[in-house]
Amino acid sequence: MSRWREMSFGFVRRAALVAVFAAAVASGASAADKYPGVGRAATPAEVEAWDIDVRPDFQGLPKGSGTVEKGQEIWEAKCASCHGTFGESNKVFTPLIGGTTKEDVEKGRVASLLRPDYPQRTTFMKVPTISTLFDYIRRAMPWNEPKSLTPDEVYSVLDFMLNLAEIVPDDFVLDDQSIREVQKRMPNRNGMSTNHALWPGAGFGTEKKKADTANTACMKDCGGPVQITSTLPDHAWTAHGNLASQNRRIGPVRGRVTGNDDPDAIDEPGPAGFKLAQSAGCMGCHGLNNKIVGPSYVDVAAKYKDKDMLDTLVGRVVKGGEGVWGEAAMPPQEGASEGEIKTIVEWILAGAPGR
């Protein structure tokens, strides 16, 4: 297979090279002449396969259309497990929907962005351009299956999200034309500025813009009396583990002791189950002590304490499980053999010790 790939590729390449040279000759001396044999012309099909970006002026937008109803089906099958039924979940990422009002839709400015107490900044509170969402969903979502949606499916699921965000009505058909109308209703469409000195070039007319701050290199008697205005909260000292174990064992300093593991320990044998759980990809969804997508291992151990669940749980991990811990399901686990999964589950049921 790969041999075939290289051979046929060699053929395309030779043919294309001829085309490059022809173009170069026709246009007089070009940089391409300087490096004969390097690079080749892209075929139109190749450019089409990769050039999927969509700009705010909708250049690059594929033709197609979708409905809220179809979008809801896709959402429930392919998005809700991570983003929640209403795009409200912060289990895997910050919420996508919420924090915008009808008034925002009219004005194009999201009022809750002015409230420092507002708990989270959702996607729809920030995004000014509808093209951004189309482009991004098509290239990257679902997270675990990027680039699997057809343009029509992207239109539908985006239509559903717009409906959830109360930007379009239930019967709205989103297509490559109506999307331009939607742009005029994006809640934060007027909320962006490029008027700053942090863009390294032309393009926004900000070349002459001055930096935000103008400190001076005062050397003596600078400023008023020095006051400490903020210190590390107590809980944050231990939240990062033992700092003594995050510093070198020699030199002018040591790490402060904020935990009870041994900073001088040289080998970390660690339980076999823990190592396997890391290599088999279990830790992406389960924390030792914290719930991620699935329950924490400490909670699993507590739930099945003194119960003979080893084989049942091994079976659920191998085949996948759902309905025990909440809405999210665990897909069948293929990153480890059944024997290895047994070792992992034994370790989980033993309380999932980190060392």
Partner: protein, 454 residues
């Protein structure tokens, strides 16, 4: 060699009295049977118990046992060449690794691992310690199947859209240059108040490498780019996220922007974009698109997800700044720093890093009194544009409370701001582009913590 013949005193450890005292009965039995590793492990544990013993035990007798009694490494044969074909750090250095900040993100595939700046020397980040930031996990791409494409946003924007293999790119004339890379959100947790304990978590989304590659300018010229119409390029990754970012053509034409495959003398690490990434000196890390598969020349910016929803800076008036890219002048003291303890009173060589996305560092000043007075630090050579610069300053610590700060000035004359100045313009909710002066409080106990001052 029969271990049981080795006098137990030769087995290592400076705080040696009677080693048997550290052993339980069973272990002593093992020792006398010649189980040297058991003894050694016990030693390690015993020494660990005496945490602050940093000075050689001023021996009651003739001197330091680590001198008087030859250690095993002086009296045995070492390991052969290529015992570890790809070398690894000493096992004694295992504390200095990339780490996540608990609770910062929900899933490790869209997260950050911070570089351990608290133990860094010089300006180069070892490739294995380079900070990580991924949006959709990382991939280890087969370089034989990797392709790089250049095209235009409209017909004629480039004369001939081109495709390059890695063979092609590596045949072209290359350049090697040292640049820093800093995530736009570095120090982002500290906008409102002190939040994390050490410089690894405050500033560890910062690394510096020598990168090798081909100027993007050359590749655009090969494609016959129309540089009158083309004002921006879009860079795009080959991974699941296919990260896209807009970059001004001016920067590309300066020749600084590289399509890079090399990092510190070897190929890029997969976590850093193997086999190909964009290098955009002075600009925040998100623009250094990893696993680079395509560059498009266009006449308008792209408003990609990470320039319209994230990497936008919230200002006090509720607007977001878009396309904030330059990493302005900044510095931090790495030794000593938050979460550390000075071993004793007396001499220290204070050391830290300074950098600017606008060019070279001109000078760095250090304060020991929270910014009332400052002394100019020494800059270690080389001092290069858009690269980390190491500064040092000698200090005799008299055991009194001190607040250490560093303040960098770059070649444009821009002086690193303090928190008051920065917040006056950008508020406290920006997340991105926090380049304020960092303060470390040293207590009389020698313990150091992260503080903010006014």
């Amino acid at each position: 060699m029969d271990d049981s013949k080795i006098p137990s005193a030769l087995l290592g450890g400076r705080i040696r009295r009677a080693p048997e005292n550290f052993l339980d009965g069973a272990a002593i039995g093992e020792v006398s049977k010649g189980r040297r590793d058991v003894l050694r492990a016990s030693f390690a544990a015993a020494i660990a118990g005496i945490a602050a013993a940093t000075r050689p035990a001023a021996a009651a007798s003739d001197g330091d046992p680590d001198i008087l009694e030859l250690p095993p490494w002086s009296t045995s044969l070492g390991l052969p060449v290529a015992a570890v074909p790809y070398g690894m750090p000493s096992k004694y250095e295992r504390n200095l690794i990339r780490r996540q900040s608990p609770g910062l993100t929900q899933v490790a595939g869209s997260s950050v691992a911070f570089a351990p700046l608290q133990g860094s020397f010089g300006i180069i980040t070892p490739s294995g310690l380079h900070f990580e930031r991924h949006h959709q996990g990382w991939q280890d791409i087969d370089p034989k199947r990797h392709r790089f494409m250049i095209n235009g946003s409209a017909p004629g924007m480039v004369k001939t859209p081109l495709v390059f293999t890695m063979d092609d790119l590596m045949r072209l004339p290359s350049v090697s240059r040292m640049y820093f890379i800093e995530c736009g959100a570095n120090t982002g947790m500290e906008w409102g108040n002190v939040a994390v304990p050490t410089v690894q978590y405050t500033h560890g989304m910062l690394s510096c490498s020598e990168f090798t590659g081909v100027p993007l300018r050359l590749l655009l010229e090969m494609a016959g780019a129309d540089l009158k119409r083309g004002k921006f390029v879009l860079a795009e990754g080959a991974d699941g996220s296919s990260m896209t970012r807009t970059i001004p053509i001016d920067l590309v034409m300066s020749g600084e922007v590289l399509v890079a495959y090399g990092q510190n003398g070897e190929m890029l690490r997969p976590e850093n974009g193997y086999p190909l990434r964009l290098v955009v000196p002075g600009v925040q890390g998100v623009s250094w698109v990893k696993w680079l598969r395509r560059v498009e020349l266009g006449d308008k910016p792209y408003a990609a997800k990470d320039e319209a929803v994230h990497y936008v800076d919230l200002m006090p008036d509720g607007t977001h700044r878009q396309y904030t890219s330059i990493q302005e002048c900044k510095s931090v003291i790495t030794t000593p720093s938050g979460g550390q303890t000075l071993v004793d009173k007396g001499f220290f060589n204070v050391s830290g890093l300074a950098w600017s996305g606008r060019g070279k560092i001109r000078k760095v000043d250090v304060s020991f009194d929270g910014g009332k007075s400052w002394q100019e630090a020494k800059l270690q050579a080389p001092v290069q544009s858009k690269c980390l610069t190491r500064f040092t300053l000698n200090w005799n610590w008299n055991g009194e409370r001190a607040i250490l700060q560093s303040r960098a000035t770059d070649e444009t004359g821009f002086v690193q701001p303090n928190y008051r100045q920065l917040r006056a313009v950008r508020g406290t909710r920006s997340i991105y582009h926090n380049n304020a002066i960092q303060s470390w409080l040293v207590e009389p106990s020698g313990e150091i913590s992260n503080v903010q001052v006014a």
